[in-house]
């Protein structure tokens, strides 16, 4: 028999095709084997970056990293590089405030520690930087008296004693410290006297707000996990110490949650812990983000708390000093499908200019960030998808989140600081990376956003393990800038260099209301657009921002009218007012001062001019 040089017998393609079709239809990608609502989709940052690159287009927006040039030499310490324990991933508090009342935003950066140094009593102090009015800052930490030795996390700012000077509250792994501003560049630890020590608890974000409208700022502290430093759960040693099958730091699931605290300001320099009385956080969820807002415009502050791996809470203030938790009914406790999320940073703004405050929340990776649109009837609808805010965020693990109007077009944009919690992901081919680029969402003023981070200047295209985020006009030039904390490294001071429209800034000074005017709702009409914003300092993740309200006016050169609805119930109406200036408005007194915009700030004393003082 002759040999067959080429074997004809082969496995026919027909069977293969059938098998393929079966596999193709029966074994869809893992994420789709589950329902779309049961689990977030898996994905990765590198992929998003590459795809994102393909979509980059020219943008008028640009941010410059001026950290070094500004003299910010801080480096955040937060545990070891492995992040073996949960607290090593959660540092990064930022406080932007005008501590010396010179009209320029100063900076305090909270520092963490390491387990070894904490036990050894070695301090890693935060740093206070005074704004020199010329684009630089001076480290004034040594003189400041802010010197508590601990493992710091978040910062809240507010004038709790209504003396006209901003005070600062800092949360630590064990307790918290309230520093009273002495009006001379120094601070005094008044924690014990004030009774806001949050003793034995690990606080993250905190926020001042006057929930009972008595003119005094109360204080909410989000507590995360009750940790026993002598018995810390070891990396990878337990069912909640895994991420996609690899050993990582444990928690928060499996760890005992820390019950949040609400301190009522007694008006005499002391506070009363009313957490139990008002049934605050009875389930001791893992608190990470705090936001005071008046979501139903009833004149009383409500409270939104972002919790990790558990429902977020919305406390509706009853104007009598009480709260009802309505998060589930209002639609802001869960994802749009009723699933717990890992809420981190939160902020509120009226992004669609319908007069009602909306809420944005940053979440864990493989999940969508939320954009809760206020439906005006005490309910919200998560429109993150339709607004192009959610899907883009899926690969990113968000922490700090802030609304801002970086191009002054009258539509609130959104910045999200991202960074994973497990450095171990870099050793695997998940595609998820530890450092991630921030996201910048440009408001298209039609209910939708466009993510332009890759196009908004080089610093935003780079990757960081970012945490806290704050907004401020650090240079008083009519642009909202960004300050971002970065784990185990220097922060990012990002100067907004965008070509932008006209603007108006409003600084509130309460009289019957709290001195900061926190909770004041300001409505301005300009260029046919009505914008509404609420005064607050504390939002985002562990951060406090510039409390002055910034309105982008676009092409409008004046605001036709300004209505200021104070927490006391009073309303001041002003206008018209020219654009491109800051108005200092006192409750019942109208405009106290106007500060003009000087385009090229270079010398401290010349960069700002008091134009007029008037008494209405």
């Amino acid at each position: 028999m002759r040999s067959r040089p080429s074997l004809r017998l082969r496995f026919p393609g027909r069977w293969v095709a059938a098998a393929m079709l079966c596999l193709a239809t029966c074994a869809l990608p893992q994420a789709s084997q589950q329902s779309n609502r049961s689990q977030p989709r898996t994905d990765h940052v590198a992929a998003a970056r590459k795809i994102g690159n393909q979509q980059v287009h020219a943008s008028p927006v640009s941010f410059a990293d001026v950290t070094r040039a500004a003299g910010i030499d801080f480096s955040l310490t937060c545990g070891g590089p492995e992040k073996r324990y949960i607290m090593e991933s959660m540092c990064g508090g930022i406080a932007v405030f005008d501590y010396d009342n010179d009209g320029w935003m100063d900076i305090f950066l909270v520092n963490g520690s390491t387990l070894e140094d904490l036990k050894a009593g070695k301090c890693h102090l935060g740093k206070l930087y005074r704004n020199n009015h010329d684009g630089t800052f001076t480290d004034v930490s040594a003189k400041s008296g802010i010197n508590h030795c601990g493992w710091g996390f978040g910062a809240a700012v507010g004038d709790y004693d209504n003396d006209g000077w901003e005070d600062i509250y800092i949360t630590y792994l064990d307790g918290a410290v309230l520093y009273h501003n002495n009006h001379d560049g120094t601070f005094t630890d008044v924690t014990a006297k004030a009774g806001v020590g949050n003793l034995g608890r690990w606080g993250t974000s905190a926020a001042f707000g006057d929930y009972d409208n008595d003119g005094n700022l109360d204080l909410y502290v989000a507590n995360y996990v009750d940790l026993d430093l002598d018995h810390l759960p070891e990396l990878g040693q337990g069912p909640f110490c895994q991420y996609r099958g690899i050993p990582v730091s444990c928690g928060p699931r499996g760890l005992k949650g820390g019950r949040d605290r609400l301190y009522h300001n007694n008006g005499d320099g002391t506070f009363t812990d009313v957490s139990e009385k008002l049934n605050i956080d009875p389930n001791a969820y893992y608190g990470l983000g705090v936001l005071w807002l008046d979501y139903d415009l009833d004149g009383c502050l409500d409270l939104y708390v972002a919790d990790d791996s558990s429902p977020s809470m919305l406390y509706h203030g009853d104007c009598k000093g009480g709260f009802t938790e309505v998060g589930v009914q209002a639609g802001v406790a869960y994802s749009a499908d009723g699933r717990e999320q890992a809420g981190m940073g939160i902020d509120s703004a009226d992004y669609d200019n319908d007069g009602w405050p909306d809420i944005a929340k940053a979440n864990f990776s493989d999940d969508s960030n939320n954009l809760y649109h206020n439906d005006h009837k005490g309910e919200f609808t998560d429109l993150a998808g339709p607004a192009n805010f959610g899907p883009v965020s899926i690969p990113f693990l968000g922490f700090g989140l802030k609304f801002l109007d970086f191009d002054n077009d009258g539509g609130k944009d959104i910045f999200v600081a991202n960074g994973h919690v497990n450095p171990q992901v870099d050793q695997h081919s998940f595609g998820v990376t530890y450092a991630e680029r921030p996201l910048l969402f440009h408001n298209l003023n039609n209910g939708k956003f466009e993510e332009i981070g890759m196009a908004a200047g080089t610093p935003l295209a780079r990757r960081y393990v970012a945490r806290g985020a704050a907004t401020a006009d650090f240079f008083n030039d009519g642009s909202e800038d960004l300050l971002v904390s970065v784990l185990d490294g220097p922060p990012l001071l990002l100067r907004n260099q965008a070509k932008k429209g006209h603007w108006l800034r409003v600084k509130t000074i309460g009289a019957a209301s709290n001195h900061d005017g926190f909770g004041t709702r300001v409505q301005i009409k300009a260029g046919g657009l009505t914008q509404t914003a609420e005064v607050r300092a504390n939002s985002s993740f562990e951060s406090a921002s510039d409390p002055r309200l910034h309105f982008g006016l676009g092409a409008a050169t004046r605001a036709d009218s300004i209505a200021i609805h104070w927490p006391s119930g009073k309303t001041d109406t002003l206008g018209p007012e020219s654009a491109d200036q800051e108005l200092v408005i006192q409750e019942g007194q109208g405009v106290l001062a106007r500060h003009a915009h000087v385009p090229a700030p270079s010398k401290p004393a010349q960069s700002r001019q008091h134009l007029t003082h008037r008494t209405p």
Partner: protein, 353 residues
């Protein structure tokens, strides 16, 4: 001389006789060879024509005629496999491999017999042997990948498909499968490249646009995902999975009316698809038609009674209709069901790969 002549004649006669015998036997052998060759060719033709019974008959006769013929044994194994006579195929394969242990096709096809029997470990053992004997064959790497895919070993399957594609880059299905492997190992950009390559080779490849759409959606690129799903719908207009994913993406994108239309078709095609029913209810609710949303959401909750999500949406729908008490009841059901759910999401609690 005579004696010599006689002797010569005798020798010659003997020689002739032997030659004649040899000729007879030779002719017989030649005839047998031709017959064997015919049987093998017939068997191959039957295989190609899909007449697997005919192929079995041909190869059974061939192996009876020539039990030591490698090709006949290969054909017998293959025809049993195709005829789904898996037990016979297994026996034939084992017997043949005992004789030709270094034959890659025998190892390959016996591996496939085991794969069809669901004995994946044995299948992999044989297929790996085949791979060791001949590492240049597209189909062997491809079939190893198939087994690994059925075991959800996406990373290993990807390696095999990468090898397969090196030897034959023009098989669209290999690119689709490699894309799926990449998708399931969080390499979505590479997945997209593979799906695109598959579609360049065969724009009608089953579910090619579907998989590409899914990859885009997982990156949060909804417009691209929607475009791909719409293309897939033109190929598979009644595929409920395709309709559901398209509807889901439209829902995410805020195109609620269009979403509802596609989701309605998905539900009609597959009334047991609770996710489609759920999304339909959600789309109608977001569109402002809470009353129409109710039956879809109720249907979803009936199909998945332990799933709290439908009750969450039901509560919201009832609330919008002003039926506060019923809404509260649904919220309570939601809360109860939530407690029975496994933990998911959050810090360090991401889905296990």
């Amino acid at each position: 001389m005579l004696q010599n002549l006689h002797a010569d004649w005798g020798k010659r006669h003997l020689l002739y006789g032997l030659l004649a015998i040899a000729c007879v036997f030779g002719a017989s052998a030649q005839s047998q060879n031709r017959q064997l060759e015919t049987l093998i060719e017939n068997g191959q033709s039957d295989l190609d024509a899909g007449d697997f019974g005919g192929a079995v008959a041909s190869f059974e006769r061939a192996t009876q005629m020539a039990p030591d013929n490698l090709e006949a044994n290969r054909g017998l194994l293959l025809s049993y496999l195709q005829a789904k006579r898996l037990r016979d195929a297994e026996n034939a394969g084992q017997s043949a491999i005992a004789r030709w242990p270094q034959d890659a096709p025998l190892q390959h096809w016996l591996g496939l017999v085991y794969f069809k029997q669901g004995q994946n470990a044995k299948a992999l053992e044989r297929l790996r042997s085949a791979e060791g004997l001949d590492g240049t064959r597209f189909d062997i790497h491809f079939d190893v990948a198939l087994v690994l895919l059925s075991e959800n070993q996406y990373a290993a399957a990807a390696e095999e498909l990468e090898k397969a594609i090196r030897f034959d880059p023009n098989t669209a299905m290999a690119h689709v499968l490699l894309g799926r492997c990449y998708q399931n190992t969080n390499r979505t950009v590479q997945a997209i490249e593979q799906f695109q390559a598959a579609l360049r080779l065969d724009r009608n490849i089953p579910l090619g646009h579907y998989h590409l759409g899914f990859a885009y959606a997982s990156l949060g690129h909804n417009p691209e995902a929607i475009a791909e799903y719409k293309k897939e719908v033109t190929h598979s207009p009644d595929n409920p999975s395709v309709l559901y994913q398209l509807g889901h993406c439209l829902l995410e994108a805020g195109e609620w009316k269009s979403a509802a239309a596609h989701l309605k078709r998905a539900v009609e095609s597959d009334p047991q698809n609770s996710d489609a029913s759920y999304d339909l209810g959600k789309a109608l609710l977001l569109e402002g038609d809470a009353e129409a949303a109710l039956p879809a959401l109720r249907h979803a909750s009936e199909l998945k009674p332990a799933d709290p999500s439908a009750h969450y949406q039901l509560a919201r729908a009832l609330g919008k209709m002003g039926r506060k008490e019923e809404a509260q009841q649904e919220f309570q059901t939601f809360a109860v069901l939530k407690k029975t759910q496994p933990v998911a999401g959050g810090m360090a609690a991401g889905p296990t790969q």
